[in-house]
Symmetry: C2
Subunit: 350 residues, 2 copies
């Protein structure tokens, strides 16, 4: 079997961690007789500086033709004034999420043996955030009136649809049902955001009877950040909106021993366009070029990609190799490519 | 001098912690020849059940006549289906914040000696969040279209004005300038919320030259939750919008050893209406009546009230007594009124 994979390494440490993810992907797919035909798209800051273009319609069309996308990270250095703030994130990363209808933004949070967290013991944290990916405050709806005057009003509109919330909540229930603890926690702020919050809560209430074995819970976003600190083991599957999911998963990354271990699947579960897999972390321009970037998040994202392509078994091989590697070497100081090499070795040991 | 104070004990543990705050207030003001004339307003769940009214215009007018308001907490038990979710929060707490133009929502976060945090050493955390209190996603602007159908759209509109952001940012700069570290961090998400985010960032940029001794920094909200976990000592003054402030301060409460120690000032800095002081925590119906509620947050809120009334010296006496008490008894198991008694004793020892 051959899959056609688009690779977007991006900026900063993006290309460094993607190289390790590709190394591990090849090591697991080749022995299985699977070929990943990769096309690299050099998008990001350099491309913008050279062409003034973030993502052309033509490139978007080409990307659509692939079976999946492996994405590194984009974003210029904060002090690089040549590139308008946020333009790469919005016109590349978010544009892909919206155009390809990546409505499930799937973010597992695991505390691995061999890594340390100040807040829990390894094994105690194992949850997944099912974040909405195509609406909410990310819809890009809002504006500035009387800009720059004393009377300016700037708005941001969170757009939430029954269509969007239902497909999200259904996915989250199905995921919860497959997991040993079968628990679903809706996180929102329905005491203040009464419109969107009630749509979410009512949707969860509607689906719940179809999943009688799933325990349903609710937390306000502010309370959820407390429990992530004081009792992260209480979570199994969290379902939440786009912005709350953004916030919670970065906090979860910190709580599980570092954002360098947190992968993300941008999934179109209807498969009408390619899904995209990336580390949660950003381009970290401050450490780019030092070979110190942690590639595990990108490698775990690659495993999510294989699972999405139907190769759960190969995904599991990577996940187990990462576990074994972290158990043995988790607290050592290693270069980016050493980590990749060790994980390949752990794969071959198995 | 006599001040007229409105006391709104509220629901759950609200009355329990407010009683201790009043005890400490009296102990510090009486020897100074200051009289606090208190009027109690029995608002909250019981009042709603008895009258069907959350807050009448008449009560609102009476409250306006006081010099300050001491507030406990409101909110029915989550399983009390007689009271519509969020109605007490919105029609009482938020209504007061909006009607009395409490545009500064001031929330100090301190890790006290004698208390423990998994994430830092006592003394390492000492920052203040200056949260906007009267606009953003709390404006109550939004709605549901085609409610209950497959085609529903639910919106929430974040409203941000130059007026609102300027007075907030100015207050935050002035506060930062008074503190030893003189550092101001804007927290927003201007790579996605480009309209509101830019208004905030541009406003900070405009004021910065007037405060040349203040160091200015920026973090996206998602990155801020990471740093609150990994490096909380980096913060001094944080300025942020209403919702981000809500989220960050609950997380900060957890990081500094418990939300039971976190006070909040809802401040109208123009003094056109009474300001209101409350603990950050909620009514915690699950522990109401067990005498286990931690009253320190309410006591520190009472100190903020005295400071607002111009008695910085008395406020400081309370703050120092709390510090001494926590140092001595911080890790003991004490009942709510024992804590109040100990703090009164610590005041008298001084
Ligand atoms: C880069 C940014 C636009 C993005 C987001 O906010 O979704 C990132 O923080 C993420 O979580 O993937
Ligand atoms: C009760 C709720 C409306 C309130 C808020 O969201 O502001 C509370 O969480 C707070 O932080 O004071």
């Amino acid at each position: 079997t051959t899959y056609s994979i688009a690779v977007i390494p991006g900026d900063g440490i993006g290309p460094e961690v993607v190289a390790e993810a590709v190394k591990v992907l090849d090591a697991v797919t080749e022995p299985a007789g699977i070929t990943l035909a990769k096309t690299t798209y050099p998008l990001g800051a350099e491309h913008w500086l050279a062409t003034g273009e973030v993502l052309s319609d033509e490139t978007l069309d080409q990307l659509r033709g692939h079976d999946a996308i492996l994405f590194g990270a984009v974003g210029a250095a904060p002090n690089d004034t040549r590139i308008p703030s946020g333009i790469l994130e919005r016109d590349l990363l978010l544009k892909l999420r919206f155009t390809f209808d990546h409505y499930i933004n799937l973010r597992p949070a695991t505390l691995y043996l061999g890594t340390t967290s100040p807040l829990a013991e390894p094994g105690d944290i194992d949850f997944v955030v099912v974040r909405e990916g195509t609406e909410g405050l990310y819809a890009g709806n809002g504006g500035r009136v009387r800009q720059g005057t004393d009377h300016e009003i700037a708005t941001e509109v969170s757009i939430n649809t029954a269509h969007g919330v239902r497909r999200l909540v259904k996915y989250a229930f199905e995921l919860a049902q497959k997991r040993p603890r079968k628990k679903l926690t809706l996180v929102h702020k329905h005491n203040v955001l009464v419109n969107a919050g009630r749509l979410y809560q009512e949707t969860v209430n509607q689906f719940a009877p179809q999943y009688p074995d799933v325990t349903v819970d609710y937390l306000h976003i502010d309370a959820a950040t407390i429990f992530l600190t004081t009792e992260p083991s209480r979570f199994d599957v969290i379902v939440t909106d786009n912005l709350f999911g953004d916030i919670l998963t970065d906090q979860a990354g910190a709580v599980t021993g570092g954002i360098g271990l947190a992968p993300c699947g941008n999934i179109n579960a209807d498969r009408t366009a390619p899904s995209m897999f990336e580390p949660v972390h950003g381009s970290a321009p401050d450490i780019a070029g030092t070979a110190t970037a942690q590639p595990v998040a990108a490698i775990l994202a690659a495993a999510m990609m294989l699972e999405h392509l139907g190769h759960e078994n190969l995904a599991d091989q990577i996940n187990q190799a990462v576990r074994r590697d972290l158990e043995t070497h988790g607290n050592e100081k290693r270069s980016t490519d050493q980590v990749g090499d060790h994980i390949v070795a752990a794969l071959q040991d198995a």
